[in-house]
Symmetry: C2
Subunit: 158 residues, 2 copies
């Protein structure tokens, strides 16, 4: 629990810091989100290297996605993804019914508009992790009822 | 190990981000350090609240410092402080012979000048933790041989 809190608190500070420095300049919301996403990308890129140090080679793309949903998610968020769906054409939807970085926000609708900034880092985390495994993707997130959320991964065929 | 890496990677990103945004503006090194220190303060302030949730009341200042060196340090850095010294007049020196946030830097002397930015967050962490326990302090750090470092805590009597 301690570790979890450390990451969460630091994550919150980063969000606050980026949004605060945006107030002084004229950085718009989109740029803050993309800064958070980029941070996540680099962290995910580095993390996956450690996590896969001793794993066997992945069979295919689905195998990679399962690794993200199980091992990667558990390491970072202390639980697995609750539901993984795919259209078998390069789109994957990862659903987390109790996403750790949203549980600290009140579940009411009034904070729904703040959800995106709490998801941007994680979108980057997934994209960075996948990228280091050779899978290029675009990752977006959506929330309808907190603290549940869905991450959509669109694989970019090269 | 996974958790450790997550915090470390994010910590590195934060340092890089703050120093990078300083390049664009004219923020000097001192302000970057103080931003990191402030982030650490708020994180430490929050963390200690969780860590002490079920502990008994502290006897005195030394008791508080011991808690920081043992429980707090172990939760955050996976090891205890190696040596705690005090002059019994409000100055404490906490020595960590293998400080986790420095182990990733090469041990050579050529990176010694970069050490302060890797210590600022932790100085704040200690100051924030102490502050929430009612102990006002100034915390500084010094490195002579990496990855060992010393944190000096000067208690501010009120």
């Amino acid at each position: 629990m301690a570790d979890e809190a450390l990451f969460q608190f630091l994550h919150n500070e980063v969000i606050q810091y980026i949004y605060k420095s945006a107030e002084h300049g004229e950085m718009e919301n989109g740029r803050c989100i993309s800064k958070l996403e980029n941070m996540g990308f680099r962290v995910g890129h580095g993390l996956i290297e450690r996590f896969t140090k001793d794993t066997v080679r992945f069979k295919d793309e689905l195998d990679v996605m399962k690794f993200i949903c199980k091992d990667f998610w558990t390491s970072v968020f202390k639980k697995q993804i609750d539901n993984l769906r795919t259209n078998h054409q390069g789109i994957y939807v990862l659903q987390d019914n109790k996403f750790r970085l949203l549980t600290q926000l009140s579940a009411g609708k009034q904070y729904l508009e703040h959800a995106p900034k709490y998801l941007a880092f994680t979108c980057g985390l997934v994209r960075g992790g996948l990228s280091n495994l050779g899978v290029k993707s675009i990752v977006t997130a959506e929330v309808s009822v907190m603290p549940a959320c869905k991450f959509q991964v669109m694989i970019q065929k090269i």
